[in-house]
Amino acid sequence: MNIAREIRALNALVLMNGLKPIVRSPLWLVVELSFPLTLIFFISLYASEKAVSEALIGAAISLMTLSGLALQSDVVWLRVELKFQDMAVASPISPTTYMLGLALSELAYSSPAILLIMVLMILRGMITLRSIPLILLSLILCWLFATSLGFYLSTKITDLRHIWALSSLLSVLISMLPPVYYSIELLPEWARILSLIIPTTHAALLAKDAVSLTSLTLLNKFISLTILLTWTITLTIIAAKRSTWREK
């Protein structure tokens, strides 16, 4: 692998699908922010300070997850509508670099929003130096698993309307419904158990533990990390091995 060449390819994809389009239609940055900020606003209206802090953590996690899932629509659009993927397949770029480049371009859209959430958390005194590694780890793992899931699904689906529907549904199921914005303790027993299947639940648990909004035992921390890692690694392998690059 030629590192310089890979970096150029990533740079090109980020410019092409991220930075340039953002500069030319910056409204998207506001769109990215509007969803988590609206939820935080609602929560702040009738819940405690602690709930608002939890929602902020949730917003960061959900933004990273949504950024990964957003890859789906772009990949399908580039492949089906523009036939751009055909040009990429018949070129030296690898599917992994293509996926990563597009995923980073999606991140360019959400990073100002994530940064703002981070600043809010710092202003509220939630983040300490010691909490940073675990917060970052859970955010990055969320992004990776959602990106892999998004890319894998996008190479299997040929209709843009299907992917829009699927992407919206997954967004709700993975980033809104499970205890990401709110505390897992609010759920009844059965729902709590069900929510433990979902990787974002664990990412939220770990991040909330890092900022002392909840306190996990060492064993629970280990279990959460294992489940989150298992999801991420499994989906990354599936994306790398099972995504359709050359059509059958």
Binding site: N2, A12, N17, K20, L82, K83, D86, A90, I93, R246
Partner: protein
């Protein structure tokens, strides 16, 4: 060295459509090669298989000596494509398209920038260089795709209908760029529905029909496939078709009758006959288009 070789290539799509039926074809290095065929003949399918975008059902294929199935990686270093019906991203400028595409293929930014300026000039796109593609006309958008592929300077370029939608002058600019690429040693494999284009710029031509290869070779070689040298066109409502078979091979195409003739003698006789019947007739030498209509037409209606 052969640039593109296929041996008994078969493609059956999911659902059972047989798009290619045992196609064996060979394209020499450094030439312009045109693949012709009716809509649905299998041109895009063939091109996509050879350009490693689609797997064949059976048969073998080699690009620059590399197996299309097991050595796709090596092939992808050396090729570039323009897919049929591709279009640029509306939110990028012409120059950005070419430049970023080259960078995506691994070129340093400086070189990508220089090469894109050069191809943009060669294709007469300079005045649009910094314009967003959403503001370009359909033909100009197509030209952006041509620029992207040509700027790669790849050893083999697979161009699926590169000039569809282009005005006559733009088409000639593209032909120039293609011919220059071929003179510098690149191989160009293209599909087209424009017979004059194939005739003018290609060194060799192949015709496929319903997934089968009907003919391939130089224009001269293809012309030898038929004994006919001349053709006559007659409106079909003015004459009885049966009367014409003594002059040559007769083909009815919509409201026209076409008679293919082997020699001057037959054409003189047909001329006299048409005058006696007071029906208009035009004669011309056999062109690639006639050859295409004859070969494909015979297969279609026989």
């Amino acid at each position: 060295m052969e640039a593109v070789v296929s041996e008994d290539l078969v493609k059956i799509y999911e659902g059972g459509v047989k798009a290619l039926d045992s196609v064996s074809l060979s394209v020499k290095s450094g030439i312009v090669f045109s693949l012709l065929g009716r809509n649905g003949a299998g041109k895009t399918t063939f091109l996509r298989i050879m350009a490693t975008q689609l797997l064949p059902t059976s048969g073998r294929g080699y690009v620059l000596g590399h197996d299309i199935v097991s050595e796709a990686g090596k092939i992808r270093e050396k090729i570039a494509v323009i897919p049929q019906e591709s279009r640029p991203m509306y939110i990028l400028t012409v120059k950005e398209h070419v430049k970023y595409f080259l960078m995506m293929r691994g070129l340093p930014m400086n070189e990508a920038s220089q090469r894109s300026s050069r191809i943009i000039r060669d294709l007469g796109l300079e005045e649009y260089s910094n314009m967003l593609c959403m503001k370009l006309s359909g033909g100009l958008r197509r030209k952006v795709l041509v620029a992207m592929a040509m700027a790669t300077e790849a050893e083999i370029l697979f161009l699926d209908e590169p000039t569809t939608g282009l005005d006559p002058l733009s088409r000639r600019l593209v032909w120039d760029v293609i011919q220059r690429a071929s003179m510098s040693g690149q191989t160009i494999f293209l599909t087209t529905h424009y017979m004059d284009e194939a005739e003018k710029i290609s060194n060799e031509i192949a015709i496929i029909h319903s997934g089968r290869l009907l003919a391939s070779g130089t224009l001269e070689e293809l012309k030898k496939l038929t004994p006919y040298k001349l053709k006559a066109e007659i409106p079909s409502d003015s004459i009885r078709i049966e009367e014409l078979s003594e002059y040559g091979r007769v083909l009815k195409l919509g409201r026209r009758i076409i008679v293919y003739m082997a020699d001057e003698e037959s054409s003189r006789k047909l001329h006299d006959y048409c005058i006696s019947m007071r029906t208009p007739v035009t004669f011309s030498p056999l062109s690639l288009e006639d050859l295409f209509i004859k070969l494909v037409g015979e297969n279609e209606y026989s």
